[in-house]
Symmetry: C2
Subunit: 407 residues, 2 copies
């Protein structure tokens, strides 16, 4: 298929072609800031450089330090870029022009791929919602009365979204634990990860104009991985009545590569049956689809969970339709995440809150240590793959972060 | 004081000097997009034009279509600009240079004054919190258990922030009212305004580095008025467990003029006593201050309320310290609002939810009509004044919006 010498099972084959932003530390014609790259094998392709050599009009939008201009250009441009890239990487005629612009991944620095406009976090894993409901609202029905009728969500802090690899400072905050006389302020004692999948909006929508389920692919460019770090003690004390705020606002990590929806066609997967039937604005037509993404969570290299994204109750298109149903506008760079992905099995739970039942059943790691919640120094890596065409695997890469104490 | 012929009682005297963004529809050297202006009397001063004529380095940052670059420049630049402006408008020697750049307000178009980064809405009026608690959580203590310990808040949708005067489309959404079999989707039946004061962040902070109460004036440039439009029926159904989302995300209106903190020195006002004492990170030093702002709310020209901002429990500096206490970074253009301002009297309540006790006691307007909530066509105007130096009034101008049905 390709003239590149890719290792079998490579994360980034020619059917993937995820976009990111990279820079080189120095050397030859090094861009001073980031520019767009596409991951292929163990390399990143300098898209602007190739397009420039070939005198393509695409060159300029890829020579920018964020993907936003490309994202805003819409599906026809996304498709054109993907077709060109596929051609460059498969047709031997292009090898001479393209090969000089392949840079080993270990020689580049990756950057946050897009300027985040608004960040929304949903809560669409039924297993997660039920597990959390049992922990935070014991004695009440595990699902809130709205949950089966809408993709429940809230706005997070866009300014706290950071690239994979950025250290995560354990936040200070107020917590009032059972048995204590009153609230205290200090470093979170129940720091957690949340394994999530995010969707990146390219094409804006007009204020006051809902985006129906059927228009999803006209607006959303692709998917990435998200770790929505959570301080459970801070969250528990602050959350009534206005929802999560500082317990979730200190850091949200995203993976460096945004995988185009086009690369995830073979991963489309029927969502679970919905009962009761969704209201008409959430009806998702003849062939609704979620995505069959297999997530893996590792703490310090030890696998702790394999959350199955295919179990999510609401689809990405339904989340977007709900988000805009009141007329809220989309902007290029809007990011919305699924909420924690949890399956039915213990080994499929997407956060420590569930894995350890709020710390009451600590987790034994294969390295011989135990965790109720995250320790300083712990590194959490969330990765994901999806079925691609012809049995190939499509990787979403990984989102990585290490917890550090406040200086 | 000034060589301008200002009317007595003008909203924008020389002690105010609020910043905004304006453009001219056409004519002489018309900027194609917005640029910075300062409101003075019935005019807007083209700051960049004067600075350019006087060959001041300030010129460039004022010739931009948003205030962000000026906001990011920090307190020394804010002070320098204010001193220059005061000098220009009071010293007869500058009259000839300045006067040609005064443009009547009715000949300009105003724009959103800054690009909004993150938008946070607090909930720091004790009267409002207690009234809302009684309505939404009957039978429980009116204040949630965290309320007296922290300024409770949540993230709103930055992309939905619009300039005063922008029509507000009544949102569709899900609501499940008592006595109904299940949720329905349609136009909100309980549309409300919320009279609030907003604070505009100029200088960013580092991720992971809290901004203490004492550093407030190093980061915050000034204040504006905010109408945080709310669909009470949508809000009521969605809000458990993750807080307000689409019931608040369809539109948030802000006033066109940002009043510098320096113009509000005479309006500083001791906050109410706090009991229990705030935790150390919220202790506000020897001379804590709120602001003695007098808000007025009008529906279709009829005064309906005069909310007193001086009654707010937490100060602007405490809100900022709390927001950043876990390390969340500030960015230029961050906007945080106080939440609804409500006093103890019925004529001081800042939203219809409280004024009509959730619609059960409709409000008789002086024009002979009644309102439980807002009708299509209703125009809400929130204005505010504060005491200035030497008995002058400082005006925050107004935030205006008319409700329109969805097309």
């Amino acid at each position: 298929m390709t003239w590149l010498d890719l290792l079998p099972g490579t994360a980034f084959g020619v059917a993937n072609l995820p976009f990111g932003i990279f820079s080189r530390a120095g050397g030859r014609p090094a861009p001073p800031e980031g520019r767009a790259g596409v991951a292929i094998g163990d390399s990143v392709l300098d898209v602007a450089a190739v397009a420039d050599d070939l005198r393509l009009p695409l060159a300029q939008m890829f020579a920018e330090p964020v993907l936003n201009r490309f994202l805003a250009a819409g599906p026809a441009t996304w498709r054109e870029a993907r077709e060109r890239l596929t051609d460059w990487l498969t047709s031997p005629a292009h090898r001479a022009a393209v090969e000089p612009h392949l840079i080993p991944l270990n020689e580049v620095r990756l950057h946050l791929p897009f300027a985040v406009a608004d960040y929304v976090d949903f809560f669409v894993s039924r297993n997660h919602a039920e597990n959390v409901g049992r922990i935070f609202r014991p004695g009440q029905p595990p699902l809130s009365r709205n949950w089966l009728h809408m993709p429940v969500g809230y706005h997070g802090r866009a300014g706290s979204v950071v690239l994979s690899g950025t250290p995560v400072t354990r936040p200070d905050g107020q917590r009032w634990e059972p048995g204590e006389d009153g609230p205290t302020f200090g470093p979170s004692r129940r720091l957690d990860f949340e394994a999530e999948v995010g969707f990146v909006v390219g094409v804006p929508s007009r204020h006051g104009q809902p985006v129906p389920v059927a228009a999803f692919e006209e607006h959303v460019f692709g998917a990435c991985l998200v770790n929505d770090w959570s301080a459970r003690d801070i969250q528990a004390f602050e959350t009534v009545p206005l929802g999560p705020f500082l317990g979730k606002a200190f850091s949200t990590s995203v993976s460096p590569w945004v995988v185009p929806l086009d690369a995830l066609r073979a991963a489309r997967f029927a969502p679970p049956p919905r009962d009761p039937a969704p209201l008409p604005y959430l009806l998702d037509g003849a062939e609704p689809w979620g995505l069959d993404l297999h997530l893996t969570v590792r703490i310090n290299g030890c696998p702790v969970s394999e959350p199955p994204f295919a179990t999510m109750y609401w689809t990405p298109a339904q989340m977007l339709a709900h988000l805009t149903s009141g007329g809220a506008p989309l902007r290029t760079g809007d990011l919305y995440a699924s909420g924690t992905v949890s399956g039915t099995e213990r080994a499929q739970l997407g956060c420590l809150l569930e894995l350890t039942r709020n710390g009451t059943e600590p987790l034994d790691l294969p390295d011989g240590t135990r965790r109720a919640f995250l320790d300083d120094g712990d590194e959490v890596v969330i990765s994901a793959t999806a079925p691609g065409p012809d049995g190939e695997l499509i990787s979403l890469g990984e989102v990585r972060g290490r917890v550090i104490p406040r200086a």
